[in-house]
């Protein structure tokens, strides 16, 4: 590219300012650069104090999610050429408190993720002699889509409900809970449903659908939430009409 691309980056340095501000940088981008490459150029050559998260540079770690021109994207997977003409506005993910520049505090997400036990729960473990837990390809196909989640939190950033109702468990946490609920090896769905069926769980979702639209791995958290609503309703009716049958 012959002309430098203008990047307008949200800065927030809590030791010197109360509110975030915007700072412009002209970056001599190459045509194959991603947004993350431009940020790295600014940090390496213009202003070393610019703060942001990144790690793998190949759309796997989920660290470099930011708002680019208002859309939540992985900056390592978004070409600069795809957002031209500039200026390119880069902001931290929405819905999370900003710690510095483009870095958000994601501890709320981590706490909620732990609460739904995103691992295989067994009532009793098999002994080693009994062998591994086998699964057919069809059984794996039930949850595989949800296992693609990389915890990038773009879905949280796209969800207006999460920003309006901070207690909401949120799309990725619910999708990951569904991933283990649908796993034929898992026996923890009852424990998870107790948390998912609360007011701040699946019922908080009003099906805006943006979480699925922005997901870089096509996980479809919105679909997972609606499926869980159906499951939860069926459970509720069953326990009302057949209380002797258990859950």
């Amino acid at each position: 590219m012959t002309e430098p691309v203008t990047f307008q980056i949200q800065r927030y340095r809590p030791e010197v300012e109360d509110e975030p501000t915007w700072e412009s940088f002209g970056v001599p981008c190459r045509s194959e650069w991603m947004i993350l490459d431009a940020l790295n150029h600014i940090k390496d050559h213009v202003d070393g104090s610019l703060s942001y998260r990144w790690a793998c540079r190949m759309g796997v770690c989920g660290s470099c999610g930011m708002l680019v021109n208002g859309e939540p994207v992985l900056t390592c997977a978004t070409y600069v050429t795809s957002v031209l003409p500039g200026p390119v506005r880069v902001e931290p993910l929405r819905g999370f408190p900003v710690m510095r520049d483009l870095v958000s505090d994601i501890s709320d997400f981590v706490r909620k993720l732990e609460s739904v036990k995103p691992w295989i729960v067994r009532k009793s473990e098999k002994s080693l002699e009994e062998g591994e837990y086998l699964q057919t390809p069809r059984e794996m196909g039930e949850y595989e889509q949800y296992s693609m989640c990389i915890n990038c939190m773009l879905c949280y950033s796209a969800c207006p409900i999460y920003e309006l109702e901070p207690d909401f468990l949120g799309p990725a946490v619910i999708a990951l809970a569904q991933r283990y609920n649908l796993d034929s090896r898992d026996e923890g769905s009852e424990e998870r449903m107790d948390i998912l069926s609360r007011q701040d769980g699946i019922w908080c979702c009003t099906f805006v659908g943006e979480c699925s639209a922005v997901c870089p791995k096509n996980v479809d958290p919105a679909g997972a939430i609606q499926r869980l609503k159906v499951t939860s309703t069926v459970h509720a009716f069953k326990s009302l009409l057949m209380p002797w049958a258990g859950r």
Binding site: Y12, P14, E15, V16, E17, D18, E19, P20, G70, R94, P97, V98, M99, D105, R138, P160, E163, L164, T206, F207, V208, G209, E210, S212, A213, D220, A222, G223, Q226, R227, K229, V230
Partner: protein, 140 residues
């Protein structure tokens, strides 16, 4: 440099910034606006249900009451209002039905039915219900 300019900040008690959500947040994206439109059109669903209940109630009160209700329905402003309500109902129904395949997983011969099939089944059910109502009206 001296100390920090922002007195609310200390190294061990940093100040996170949380943005104030604008009241018109739903105008920030077309998808948010469509979502709010879908939610608001549920008021038209509620209104229509109320009109239907009032119709049944007036029918139960006798022919005079029902005639009064029908003549109210035939007033021009009411007809205009109900045409608008019909448009809102159709928008609500179409957008609501389009979400159904995401929520409902149906299987046939152990295979998951494609979303379009689930959607078409909903439209078929809608058609059957509408035909039944039409038959009731014509037969009545």
């Amino acid at each position: 440099m001296g100390g920090p300019v922002n007195p609310g900040y200390t190294r061990h008690h940093p100040r996170w910034h949380r943005r104030r959500i604008p009241i018109f947040w739903w105008l920030e994206k077309a998808s948010y606006t469509k979502f709010i439109a879908r939610e608001l059109t549920s008021l038209a669903v509620g209104y229509t249900a109320l009109v239907l209940m009032l119709q049944v109630w007036s029918l139960a009160r006798g022919p005079e009451s029902y005639d009064r209700f029908v003549s109210w329905l035939q007033l021009r402003p009411v007809v205009a209002l109900h045409i608008v309500m019909l448009g809102l109902l159709v928008y609500h129904s179409v957008t609501w039905l389009s979400l159904a395949p995401r929520a409902l997983v149906l299987r046939f011969a152990r295979r998951r039915l494609p979303g379009t099939v689930v959607l078409l089944m909903h439209y078929a059910a809608w058609l059957v219900a509408s035909a039944a109502v039409l038959w009731l009206l014509v037969a009545g």
